[in-house]
């Protein structure tokens, strides 16, 4: 075997070993370091480096160097950006050999402190035909030029490196997805065991923030037809955001919900669909919105802002996919929790009405009947008693019994009007408005357009209680002179409109004790809607619609 042959064999062996070493690495940084070291060793280069081309392919986003000590690196200051000779390789992506790179007209020159370099070999690292980066080698030992054989060996090494880089990327992607799936599984289990809606929404926001490494995550739920309310928030500056309302038709969250499609925005300030006022309050730069959908029904939106681990704060496609997977699980949990809360409220309301009905019946049928019998007995007694003083005593007791009977009947009606069960909603509301007019002096105009049709029990009770609450509000808050109540049929729904000519209120800041939440809950239990139209000094209108079964 010739000396030349032995050298060639040794270099091939070194290349083979370098390939093996590269393929055994599972970290991208380690692969890149190994690659430049192996390239330097194979070609006897004093300096070696690998520049990773940014996704757009115009500049270098990463630079791994070998042979330059940390002191020299510090003196040079910044890493190469891909101009000059390095830029030629970035643009052309083919091997380049030079005797003296400083004499090449395309050279950009070295920064102060840079070691002198003359001989040069550059080879692209191609991944599936696309330039991933370039290997740069300079200063071959003995001042010699890099040879064609060097170029071939480094090209072979670059091919092996490309496979290793691809494998590492796949491994990292698989590992990352595995970790994320594990986290999703954990979240799924946590979501399945949490039925308290408030706690669940907090959990949804917190865990998504962890999964995405977001600065801020919001959970928004619809409120009425026109608004979205921030029901939970996690992250920086999250405090104080809960309860904030957004226009459903003028915000990105509303649009994502309406379109039922996720969106990723890299610069929220440039997106005309983003509610800029609210977003400025969050201090958000980027955003990711995912609708919460259950069986085709929109129940809310998840919004994440600013990925902390990315310098640009942008979320990637992987983040979007992850958030969508997460949202599908969270939506089921939120829906389940809402149903549990609704069922619980329905049972409480039903039990309360049942209790009131029993008490009212007891008062009316038992206590009322007993008092009536006492009254009849006292009337008879009055006739038999001799003496004015005794008769006056009996009359006084009889008056007490009359007053008590009135109180008992009033109490029974207030608890649960018999008219509601015996004659239906219209009769009960007529009676209620009459009493209200007598007691307060406020004019009430009640118009019922239901004809002979009876509103079923649960809906009738809810609508009656809403009228009661609304009239109490009129006294307490409105300073109104008149109220009008309209009860009509609207296709397969019953519509109730209560309007007063009072002073109204700021709808964004209703005073304490308005009872609107209670009304809304009653209406939502029936699958209906409640709209409040009001402004300071302009009266208040409540519009309720509930479906008929």
């Amino acid at each position: 075997m010739s000396v030349t042959g032995t050298v060639a064999d040794n270099r091939l062996r070194a290349l083979f070993e370098a390939g093996l070493a590269l393929s055994s690495e599972l970290s991208l940084d380690a692969v890149l370091r190994r690659l430049v070291e192996a390239a330097a060793e194979l070609t006897e280069a004093r300096y070696a480096a690998l520049g990773v081309v940014e996704p757009g392919g115009a500049r270098l986003e990463r630079f791994v160097a070998h042979g330059v000590g940390p002191e020299v690196e510090a003196e040079i200051g910044h890493r190469p950006e891909g101009r000059g000779i390095l830029g030629v390789l970035v643009r052309e992506a083919r091997p380049l050999r030079l005797h003296d790179l400083t004499e090449d007209p395309r050279a950009f020159g070295f920064p102060p402190g840079h070691p002198p370099m003359r001989t040069f070999l550059g080879v692209p690292v191609l991944l599936r035909g696309v330039a991933y980066g370039n290997l740069y080698l300079t200063e071959k030992a003995g001042g010699r030029d890099f040879t064609e054989e060097d170029e071939e060996l480094v090209t072979l090494l670059a091919t092996q490196a490309a496979i290793a880089i691809e494998n590492v990327r796949l491994y990292e992607a698989v590992t990352q997805w595995s970790q994320r799936l594990e986290a999703l599984n954990e979240v799924g289990n946590a979501l399945a065991t949490e039925t308290d809606l408030g706690a669940l929404l907090d959990l949804v926001a917190r865990r998504l923030r962890e999964l995405l490494d977001a600065r801020l995550v919001l959970v928004l739920l619809p409120e009425g037809r026109d608004l979205l309310r921030i029901a939970a928030a996690a992250g920086v500056d999250a405090e104080g955001l809960v309860g904030t309302k957004l226009d459903r038709h003028g915000s990105k969250s509303g649009r994502v919900l309406a379109a039922r499609r996720s969106e990723r925005v890299d610069a929220v300030l440039d997106d005309p669909e983003v509610d800029q006022v609210t977003t400025r309050r969050f201090g958000a730069r980027t955003g990711l919105w995912v609708p919460l959908l259950v069986r085709g029904r929109e129940i809310g939106v998840l919004a994440a802002h600013d990925k902390l681990s990315a310098e640009s704060r942008r979320f990637g496609d992987d983040d979007l996919r992850l958030a969508e997977t997460y949202a599908s699980r969270a939506a089921v949990a939120v829906d389940l929790s809402e149903r549990v809360a609704r069922d619980s409220l329905r049972r409480v309301v039903a039990a309360q009405e049942l209790e009131r009905r029993r008490l009212a019946r007891e008062l009316h049928d038992e206590t009322g009947q007993a008092l009536t019998s006492i009254l009849l007995g006292l009337r008879s007694l009055e006739e038999f008693v001799d003496g004015e003083e005794e008769r006056e005593a009996v009359r006084s007791i009889r008056q007490l019994a009359v007053d008590t009977l009135q109180d008992v009947r009033r109490l029974a009606v207030e608890l649960r009007p018999k008219a509601l069960d015996d004659f239906g909603l219209v009769a009960a509301v007529e009676r209620l408005t009459e009493t209200f007019r007598e007691q307060t002096g406020i004019a009430v105009d009640f118009v019922a357009g239901l004809g002979e049709e009876q509103v079923p029990g649960e809906a009738a009770t809810a609508l009656y209680r809403i009228v009661q609450e609304a009239l109490t509000n009129v006294v307490k808050h409105a300073h109104a002179r008149g109220v009008s109540i309209l009860l009509t049929r609207k296709n397969d729904r019953v519509a109730l409109v209560i309007e007063d000519d009072g002073r109204g209120f700021d709808p964004d800041r209703p005073a304490e004790g308005f009872g609107l939440q209670g009304m809304r809950e009653r209406v939502e239990l029936l699958g209906g809607t409640l709209l409040v139209e009001t402004a300071e000094g302009a009266g208040t209108t409540l519009a309720v619609e509930v479906p008929l079964p």
């Binding site: 007053d403 009135q406 109180d407 009033r410 109490l411 207030e414 608890l415 009493t435 209200f436 007598e438 007691q439 307060t440 002096g441 406020i442 009661q468 009239l471 109490t472 509000n473 006294v475 307490k476 808050h477 300073h479 304490e512 004790g513």
Partner: protein
């Protein structure tokens, strides 16, 4: 604590509005307030009306003015209000 009430001051007209229990005073419809320490007497009486007589809460100030209050809040509200006022008056006197 707030209540929906109808107020009649001495022999004046009925005035519907909000009654609010504050720390030192009770605010009544018409924007007036009565300090608990100025309450001379608090009692329930019956007041005749179009729909028969009904219980009414009477607040008598130390100056002799009478405020008659009925509520539209439903069962138990008037007695609850009476108890709150008696307790507040007692605390103010202590």
């Amino acid at each position: 604590m707030t209540y929906a009430v109808v107020l009649r001051a001495d022999d004046g007209p009925d005035e519907p509005g909000r009654l609010e229990l504050e720390r030192d005073a009770v605010l009544v419809p018409g924007g007036r307030s009565v300090r608990y320490s100025d309450l001379g007497d608090v009692y329930l009486e019956r007041l005749a009306g179009a729909g028969g007589s009904r219980p009414t809460l009477v607040l008598v100030s130390r100056g002799g003015e009478r405020l008659r209050i009925s509520t539209v809040e439903g069962p138990g509200a008037l007695r609850e209000l009476a108890e709150e006022l008696v307790e507040a008056r007692g605390k103010a006197a202590a």
